[in-house]
């Protein structure tokens, strides 16, 4: 039933979302404005769009390398995190395990650790192990960074699945691995998609650890963007271009799981 009030509110929703996202529109515009328009004393709304800032971003700020680093580190760490989180969450949620609740709580509590408190020990540990400024070092750190939240979310999803199917599969002689892989995974697709996306996004946007642990070879996109302001002047054009570039993979991911997002969260996270 759609009352006139609801219809009015629906129009309101569109307007509110459009206004809310105006800063994004502004950033995207800035990234294609000529430099003299950006530096004008008054904001300009009419201009000839140019791609010069995108060129600058790649040529002067070595952005291709940062994108490659981020891609390697984040994709590999997300895959490892998801695998470890799945088997852990399965054990915590579905198996007879002494102290499962206490352990879940312990893992969850590590999600609330402030980064600045452990960043310096990370730096020292990376020096001892020779993993400073390496992809491997960052991958290990991001696996640890993503695990608590991933385990917690997945455990929520797995707790909700019906027992009967699993019991039947076990009576049919399926092993643990087959049960997780062939029975539980397909039933928990929404939850797994949501968890993977959050793991991916948090690692993609992580800044503090990358700032402490990388300097040249393994610099990720957020650190590279931050470096763009320390040079004599803030170059708003290339900077906006960098923002747009880092946002594109996020947007693709978000639209891919759009169907799962609300449903997935409704099933698991908020229980």
């Amino acid at each position: 039933m759609r009352t006139p009030l609801r219809r009015f509110l629906d129009v309101g929703a569109v307007v509110v979302v459009a206004v809310y996202l105006a800063p994004l529109y502004w950033i995207a515009m800035t990234s294609v404005k000529p430099t003299n328009v950006i530096n004008a004393p008054k904001p300009q709304f009419a201009f000839d769009p140019t791609l010069e800032h995108y060129h600058t971003t790649f040529e002067r700020f070595d952005f291709a390398q940062a994108i490659l680093n981020s891609a390697i580190i984040v994709i590999v760490s997300t895959i490892i995190t998801m695998f470890l989180a799945l088997i852990s969450a399965y054990a915590l949620a579905r198996m007879k395990m002494r102290g499962a609740d206490g352990m879940s709580l312990l893992i969850l509590s590590l999600r609330f650790m402030p980064g600045v408190v452990i960043a310096l020990p990370y730096f020292l540990m990376a020096q001892w192990t020779g993993l400073t400024d390496s992809h491997l070092g960052m991958i290990i750190v991001y696996v640890a960074y993503g695990l608590p939240f991933a385990v917690w979310l997945l455990r929520g999803f797995l707790l909700d699945l019906p027992r009967e199917v699993e019991e039947a599969a076990r009576l049919d002689g399926l092993g643990w691995f087959s049960i997780i892989w062939r029975i539980m995974l397909p039933m928990a697709t929404s939850g797994i998609a949501v968890t993977a996306v959050f793991t991916f996004v948090f690692a993609w946007n992580e800044f503090l650890f990358a700032l402490y642990l990388t300097s040249y070879k393994a610099v990720t996109i957020p650190v590279q963007i931050a470096k763009m302001i320390d040079l004599y002047n803030v170059l708003w054009g290339p900077l906006s271009a960098a923002v747009v570039i880092q946002l594109v993979p996020m947007l693709i991911v978000v639209f891919l799981i759009q169907r799962h997002m609300i449903r997935g969260l409704a099933l698991g996270a908020v229980k």
């Binding site: 759609r2 509110l9 629906d10 569109v14 509110v16 979302v17 809310y20 800063p23 994004l24 950033i27 004008a40 004393p41 008054k42 904001p43 470890l84 088997i87 852990s88 054990a91 198996m95 007879k96 395990m97 499962a100 352990m103 893992i107 609330f112 650790m113 402030p114 980064g115 600045v116 408190v117 452990i118 020990p121 990370y122 290990i140 695990l147 608590p148 076990r170 002689g173 399926l174 092993g175 643990w176 996004v201 946007n205 503090l208 957020p222 963007i225 803030v234 960098a242 923002v243 880092q246 996020m250 978000v254 759009q258 997002m261 609300i262 449903r263 969260l265 409704a266 996270a269 908020v270």
Partner: protein, 314 residues
């Protein structure tokens, strides 16, 4: 898999397999996660606790020695900045969290509808959550620029005074707050929407038939049903606001003066001043504060769960 031959196992719940009980297999499955978290969360935390009781100096590591609670005494009695950062953290959380919750709830109500294309609208609104805070902070800084920035242009357009935004001690905190609230309100919306979608259609229909609408509907029907979700989102936001770092570093570096020197930023500046012991002591206090928040929230959640169960059985 870590245990070979698992796929061939069969039988009931308690039947031992490879001489391992289900309990043991469960522990084996959790083991990698536990090891990683002990190595990369518990151990570094232990290092920080140990350092908090030493006189470590970044520029003279050989002079490091045990000094007892002296670093904590310094923070409590000799460091004005410490109390200032506490006050700032209080103000910060007391404003950002409620504003995000109220705005988030408002947006969630607007988007909890069956209109065509609502999926796209819901996806669009979450975009801010997915932007790197560093990049977002810089973009907002461009808009804050007192000369040539978009915001002052808009202020003048509606006949208001220009503001110095992040470059003045009086307005810097508010400026960073705006960025943070803008980024994280959609997150609250997303989680609350998930909660609202979980309300059964029968309840919605019954409310409609009883002509329960608007604010009454929100207060009497929606809020009580999604209250556990509200508690969870409140906890997540509160902890993240206590730890806030990226946008502060990018927009103000804690300044001007110390007007935006929140906890994480303060730890970062103490580190740059080379006082590892004091830095660690501050970090330990921060972890304790966060844990108090988390534990009290989990208690409340637990009590809510019990209360719901009693209501159901009654």
């Amino acid at each position: 898999m870590a245990v070979p031959g698992l796929a061939g196992s069969s039988g009931g719940r308690r039947q031992p397999f490879l001489h391992l009980s289900e309990n043991r297999i469960a522990y084996l499955l959790v083991l990698p996660t536990l090891l990683i978290l002990i190595g990369l969360a518990v151990y570094p935390l232990g290092w920080t606790v140990a350092t908090a009781f030493r006189s470590d100096n970044l520029f003279n590591p050989l002079a490091a020695r045990w000094v007892g609670p002296r670093n904590f005494e310094f923070l409590f009695f000799n460091d004005d900045t410490f109390w200032k950062t506490l006050r700032l953290a209080g103000i910060w959380c007391a404003i950002t969290v409620p504003v995000q919750l109220i705005l988030g709830l408002f947006l969630a109500m607007l988007l909890d509808t069956t209109m065509r294309g609502i999926g796209i609208l819901r996806t669009l609104i979450v975009i801010p959550v997915f932007i790197t805070p560093v990049a977002l902070g810089l973009s907002w800084r461009a808009m804050f620029e007192p000369i040539g920035g978009l915001l002052n242009y808009l202020l003048q357009g509606v006949g208001l005074e220009k503001s110095l935004w992040h470059t003045h001690p009086d307005t810097a905190l508010l400026s960073v707050m705006i960025v943070d609230i803008w980024q994280w309100t959609p997150f609250v919306t997303l989680i609350l929407l998930a909660g609202m979608q979980g309300i059964s259609p029968e309840v919605v229909e019954a409310a409609r038939l009883d002509r329960v609408r608007g604010l009454t509907y929100l207060r009497r029907i929606v809020l009580p049903l999604i209250w556990p979700v509200v508690t969870v989102v409140l906890l997540l936001r509160l902890v993240d606001e206590i730890r806030i770092f990226d946008v502060i570093l990018i927009i103000t570096r804690g300044g001007p003066g110390s007007s935006t020197l929140l906890a994480s930023m303060n730890i970062y500046s103490i580190f740059h001043a080379g006082r590892l012991g004091v830095m660690a002591a501050y970090g330990v206090l921060m972890v304790i504060a966060i844990n108090i928040v988390v534990i009290s929230f989990l208690r409340v959640l637990h009590r809510q769960e019990k209360a719901t169960r009693q209501k159901v059985s009654a």
